[in-house]
Symmetry: C2
Subunit: 262 residues, 2 copies
């Protein structure tokens, strides 16, 4: 394991660029996994690591030492002083281990006859990662993101996704208004308006494209126009709105319930 102590080291510069800039990640074709749990989840799904970077205090943690013992052989491994590690960490509370991976190749978006989650304007990385994790848990395999969503492969989204990225097909920068009209199933968009149908009055057993918008703006009018129905999550409480991640969880698990999940 090689020690690095200078900010001018080329690897440190590369890590800092990957941690802080989506543009740099696209140029370099790489991204960062933060934390032993996420790196383990990637390995379990056959994601190839290109290198590991650990902090001096991280090396002394059991789960990171285990990880190094397991995959450290034949893989470039570097150790950084904690302050330098914090400098290249993409998160506020550095976990002590980072892995470099290639960004996945973009696959063409063909016909999908299956449930899918469609997001328009979900900019918060934590929300996006949580939604990917929920989709993967609910058994939804396809996620479509419009231009304007957070980058799916940013380190913060990966961290919140907790491995979901490696079991999903995530399509980014999709022209939803062009793609959705060709979808064969129901297109359901959550809404607060009065003409919407209650979630619990819908038959959700056939394929559904679930459309959700970001906080604030919601779903754009062009995308909303593609919905075959507007759906309302009935809220008996005094507050009549949910975080978008919570709304996705309620909808996808109501569908799983109707599909017989036990």
């Amino acid at each position: 394991m090689k020690a690095i102590s200078s900010r001018d080291n080329p690897l440190v510069k590369r890590l800092h660029a990957l941690a802080s800039s989506g543009r740099e990640r696209r140029i370099l074709g790489e991204t960062l996994l933060d934390g032993a749990h996420l790196v383990q989840a990637a390995l379990e799904r056959s994601c190839r690591l290109k290198g590991l970077v650990v902090s001096e205090s991280g090396v002394r943690k059991a789960e990171i030492a285990d990880l190094l013992g397991e995959v450290g052989q034949g893989l470039p491994c570097h150790v950084l002083p904690d302050t330098l590690f914090a400098h290249v960490s993409p998160v506020d509370t550095p976990s002590g281990v980072l892995a470099i991976i290639d960004l996945p190749a973009e696959k063409p978006l063909g016909t999908i006859v299956d449930n899918l989650v469609v997001l328009d304007g979900v900019q918060d990385p934590g929300n996006l990662g949580t939604i990917l994790r929920t989709a993967a848990a609910a058994g939804v395999r396809h996620v479509l993101l419009a231009e304007g969503c957070a980058g799916a492969w940013s380190p913060r989204v990966l961290r919140a996704g907790m491995g979901a990225h490696f079991v999903l097909e995530v399509h980014e920068r999709v022209d939803l208004a062009a793609w959705l009209p060709g979808f064969g199933g129901q297109v359901l968009a959550t809404a607060l308006s009065g003409d919407a149908c209650s979630l619990y009055d819908l038959d959700l057993r056939a394929p559904v494209a679930w459309v959700f918008g970001g906080e604030g703006q919601g779903v754009s009018p062009a995308v909303l126009a593609c919905a075959t129905r507007h759906v309302l999550i009935p809220m008996p409480g005094a507050i009549e709105s949910l975080n978008v991640g919570a709304a996705v969880a309620v909808c996808l698990f109501e569908q799983a319930r109707q599909l017989g999940s036990r």
Copy 2:
């Protein structure tokens, strides 16, 4: 509206302390609301503001100008250059307006014959705020937090709660292992273990104390021992875990569905 431009100004020091330290918030008995939407939500629920602070660029935003026009009379209002505002802002992307409010007086925790959310070790402010918002939307009025959860009235939790704090009764630093055995209804703790009962096989129409643990550690053994039942959210997908905020949403809205929410 008074202009402030120095970091040495006593109000700036007070704001910075409130933004960055739970201990300072308790000593001063105050906290900060960040963003026009949250301040409006507080006003709608009769929360008394003690002062408003806006950034120079914030003043030019319509929603903040409206807020100043509505409540600025008779309230101490200060304007700060954007860099100084960022210095006192409790969030990464300053909204341009902060309100100072008193921390609410702690109420004694008596007998509750109603649904409630019980959290053990939920440390992430965003998760906690989202859970409070979900509880308020689902019609759950009481939330109990064990020692070790994030501070409910921290600016980041308030921001994620989006006004939920003002319709809920939140009890902090509750000795759950002492209180839960006296609860008259079911105590349901989410678990991944095999002896748990499926959420969809439970009758949730009588009062439930829903117990959730934080990421990583989960519910502590002493609290888990108070559960009358362990509950499993069936996950048909390839990933078998949910963000705690998503798990809360699935459980509370399944209960609302069973209670006849339409």
